[in-house]
Symmetry: C2
Subunit: 114 residues, 2 copies
């Protein structure tokens, strides 16, 4: 199990939570402060900060404190890695379905020749 495997584990784990997915969706449209990000959630700040920590540890976001304000932004690389893994599976699946469809069609055409 290489680094790539471990990264995918932490990335998918980070995405398995609706608060963390909502934070990513917010940050996709631009950087935001922790205060802004936390606003839609009825959650104590320490609980919210744990979610931010999980996203940072997974390499999905980074945060920076300037003065008293901590600002977060997206790091797209790990999201792209997760996307690539899923896209590969669905592409292979679609390829298999297309081959099966051609096979069934060819059988049908053979039947008509009889």
């Amino acid at each position: 199990m290489g680094n790539n495997h471990e990264n995918l584990n932490t990335v998918f784990q980070a995405l398995a939570d609706p608060t963390r997915r909502a934070v990513i969706q917010h940050l996709i449209s631009g950087p935001a402060s922790i205060t802004e990000l936390a606003k839609p959630f009825e959650m104590a700040l320490p609980s919210f900060m744990k979610h931010i920590g999980v996203l940072e540890d997974a390499g999905l976001i980074r945060s920076k404190k300037i003065g008293r304000v901590r600002t977060c932004e997206i790091k797209p690389k790990q999201l792209t890695a997760a996307e690539t893994w899923i896209n590969e599976q669905t592409a292979q699946w679609e390829g298999r379905m297309a081959r099966m469809a051609s096979f069934v069609e060819a059988l049908g055409a053979e039947g008509q020749d009889d």
Copy 2:
């Protein structure tokens, strides 16, 4: 949080494990028995069956017992739901990056006019 949210939680949770991802990769190329699927892993059968259970609960695979052989196959719908979520995020990110690039380019062009 609707059903879609809960589904994405369990799907991403199911994908956060290398054994479960390997099972999906195997099944993408066609149905397989539990014995075949378990072969590459140095794992006791009950532990392996727990992974199969997580994948079934997430709606990523289904299994059927015929005689003494339990055979698994992919159910693509939930994998596609996870793919759609990630693709939407990366598409929005790429859109934002493209808009920023055009903006910077426009600034550069204005600078040349001076």
